[in-house]
Symmetry: D2
């Protein structure tokens, strides 16, 4: 499962990224998809061409970039998060609509649009299909969070009832169920606060706090999507509310660390450990992709503007998964 986050820094930049929680590696690495990169739309069998260059976490399958999350040169960013039991794709091509395989949705968004404003009206015209990139790769079960340099974000969910677009005012996304369910769920927790409650008197008994954090007692600590949504929304809100002047990349990683999956504590039905394979954080203004991995918490960065965005091929960067320690002596 996964958790995505947006955060405005004290300097006015916009950060966007996610925890990728999954029990196996999918051969991912940061890559840059250049402008005018051609790829085949497996639903229509037609060739498509990217307009904007993209940096993101990519798995290349049959020379096709499968994005987990990414950012384009205009500052539009997107992440796909698992949405099992809800995601539903069409199997029939539509003559009136834009036919896009569900696995290519992020590529379509990031390669064609500059802003949410530009994107939103096009989303209604979309026909998302269950086509496969190849026989070995089943269609994904995703919903998406998309954000641009305004800091606004939206969530796109395609279920059996059709495609829905939500304005996302909490800047968070996790997994199933649907986004509106999670928003309603937050309403259970509005009594929680970052403020300390130092003491109370119940009947005639004086009761003092045992330590900081009493105002937040009741927040769930498990790793289900609903609980991660509540915790992330809580942490983001109170970070911005209390310490707006200290928002930076470190804060971004701290928030996502709280909902990261620790090896051993979350087991899949087939008894493997679901872990946070990597955490990404993109600076939308600067075009920089930051990430660290389960085995290497040191943050790596790749600046798309240091590369040739008109290159012919996808450029992949080494996935730095070996612990990098700063030896002070």
């Amino acid at each position: 499962m996964c958790t995505a986050l947006t955060l405005k820094t004290s300097e006015g930049n916009h950060l966007f990224g996610r925890n990728m929680d999954i029990e196996f590696s999918f051969n991912q690495s940061v890559g840059i998809i250049p402008r005018s990169f051609e790829y085949k739309n497996m639903s229509t069998n037609e060739l498509e061409k990217t307009k904007y260059a993209i940096i993101g976490m990519i798995t290349v399958i049959d020379n096709h970039p499968m994005l987990a999350d990414g950012l384009n040169e205009k500052g539009l960013a997107c992440a796909g998060l698992n949405f099992p039991g809800y995601a539903h794709w069409e199997s029939e091509l539509s003559e009136e609509k834009i036919n896009v395989p569900a696995y290519d949705f992020m590529l379509w968004v990031l390669s064609n649009f500059e802003t949410l404003e530009e994107l939103k009206p096009e989303l209604e015209k979309l026909n998302l299909l269950d086509s496969r990139i190849n026989n070995l790769t089943p269609p994904p079960t995703l919903h998406w969070i998309i954000t641009d340099k305004t800091g606004q974000s939206i969530v796109i969910e395609k279920t059996k009832s059709g495609l829905r677009l939500f304005n996302n005012e909490v800047g968070v996304l996790t997994n199933s169920p649907t986004f509106d369910w999670h928003l309603t769920n937050l309403r259970q927790y509005i009594g929680l606060s970052s403020n300390q409650v130092t003491n109370a008197k119940w009947s005639t008994q004086e009761l003092k706090a045992l330590g900081q954090g009493v105002g937040c007692v009741g927040i769930p600590g498990d790793f289900t999507p609903a609980s991660r949504f509540v915790r992330t929304a809580f942490l983001r809100h109170f970070a911005l509310a209390n310490d707006k002047d200290s928002m930076n990349i470190s804060e971004f990683f701290h928030i996502l660390n709280n909902v990261a999956m620790v090896r051993g504590s979350v087991r899949t039905p087939d008894n493997r450990s679901d872990i946070t394979q990597y955490t990404s954080c993109m600076n939308q203004e600067k075009g920089i992709y930051y990430y660290n991995t389960y085995n290497n918490n040191n943050i790596n960065s790749i600046d798309m503007h240091k590369e040739d965005l008109n290159a012919k091929e996808i450029k992949l960067f080494n996935y730095e998964d070996t612990l990098k320690i700063n030896n002070q002596n």
Copy 2:
């Protein structure tokens, strides 16, 4: 507030360390206290001399090393964690007992003993005093966790009822209340598990899990000492139970990240943000001190055996608190 942890690596080394959660910096940095270092016992006004060299997180006040946590050259390690409302020190010197200021307890332990076995019988002879290092520095309110190369750990608490020693079989310590209260509290949570519950039928309604992590629903997510204790004990146990062969420094930091305080979400009564200033992790066999900080998640390391342990002075290392990023292009 704070959280301490012990963890045995897959290679058989023993890791020990802690989150330091506090709303301000106390001018800390890693330092090495050499063998035969002399300092004044402010309770007795006598000079003391270290037997073993120590590496730890230190604040030097009046040329005196105040330890937050540390490790000696024999692999004995100790951390002090806040214990407000419970810690109690004597104000009278004892003629029969060993008089040690409470603030020097860790220094006394690490500079004199090699193992828990050697230390334990001496603890009974201890008279812990409320002496101050100087007028500006009040006595601390601490309890301690101590561990050696056997991987065993103990907790020392001195309250108004006297000094108590607990064997610590869960390898975790947080803050108030007393250790035995926390152990009893764990018994509330024995129904929780890392295993997934995939579905159930309540009345005639089929209910499927929305995502991984259902077996752990009910674990508290807040930052009070009790909740951090439960989460850390849960994560440590299931890490070792399910993935014993993947235990290493990364795992150690992942566990402590889960209970780390995120800026903004935990406010002190005077409305400041309690944050995890640093996380430390000591390899007890190798004599290496690892740490990262709130502003710099990159792990730093200092190997005590690369230094002259017979030096005359305390050696301090730079506190690396500026974000260090690995630029891949």
Copy 3:
């Protein structure tokens, strides 16, 4: 707020009823509305006539029976539960549809239909209106649970998106949000169980249960609609699963007692105490209405078949709200 419940007894009868949670009395009492009782439909200004006799908790306003919950002579039963922020009524009459004021929905259902099968297709034809019985009485904000002698139940919700009918397989209803949200919320709790967990070993620490009930740790104890829904669904399921042969009126009241509001513990925004004014329980086969009140826990009963169901007028019974104690000496 309120909680409704269905339960099949060991003898094969079907019980249906509810907690009425509200901070004031609304002059309610059990009443019987006879067959062929005439009343004005305030939306159409036409006279309507009941087909079936009804027993229920009633407030008579302007000679009009306002039902809180009730049962008809055919065993069809219905309760209205507060649904603030979601309930939405039309303001325009429809020419094609059956125009019914929202406040008369229960009267319309119970006076016209025998079974859910008969009722369901008619619900689509319904136009629920915001008409008022008089100027002093605003339209209600309700959703409804309806059940018949098959033991099946349905939930009817009319929001801005239209009228929805849900099959209710958990036999429970509380308040906002919508029924499908609550069903999804149950999926968070499928790891909970009535079974005892007696011991566990976390790391090397043996941990024994402190008392019964460990398998249910994590269930929320507050009085919000979501928490009452979870608790009631849990209690109903495990009662039927473990003790199907002991299901009777007592069990029905025990389940609802668990989610009943205790004076003082739930305060409204204007600082009054929300309490469970009464609990009702109808035997659908026998036509008996049982209830007790906040001030009188003794269960009262009224058997509709002991009355003349062809009477001209509504017959009201005394609301027994004074504590009735059985003096044994």
Copy 4:
């Protein structure tokens, strides 16, 4: 397991009673033990004689009254609650102390003392023994709550570390662990309140309460002793704080209903249903014993002052366990 409660009524009377939670009937019924009733102390083999008459829930074994809870003619009242894993009795008679079998503790208290003030100094002289009333009946594992007409209450616990007396300022007792652990545990919940939180804004998202009760979110809903203690202490405090003028027998039963065990939901290790067999409530000023049972929620009452307290024999009253309904027609 069990829950005990004290409550001062609006009229100034003191109520005391408990839920008896157990998976089987123990042949209990209300009985009156007269003044000067003789019984054998099985530890000393001497005859004892009651000074004050007692009314309580009794099982008579070999003509010996085993009390579950009771009240004497002076208004002193006591209840024994299960305390497994902690209760410890002596096996050796003491020459200096008063030797009392643990199972006779309540009988000794109620038959000899008028007030807590009178009782407290005698408790130190007590040697509680593991003697048995007969071979078939093992010693109980209990701790006790005792209260008098001042409304004050105390808790008595005898563990391996000796006998401890706690002043009970919250007016509640449940089961294991020790009373001081529960008091400390309450300090986790001091952020909870009966007051409604109507809305909040997290980030830019407005969040409205879904229903009443938001200030109490985080309170545990399960049936473990710790959770029942928290809920009962919460309900008692806020009842008295918000509605002191409505405190009466009904309120007493409402509070205990919230923590009563519902059949099916709490299973013992040998898979039987732990249920609240009865709830008792004694008016300490009036000498009246009220109770209802799992199968009969109608409250029964027995007034000790209507009986001959100088009778020779224990008088037992019928245990009214058959549902008593008030038929209104």
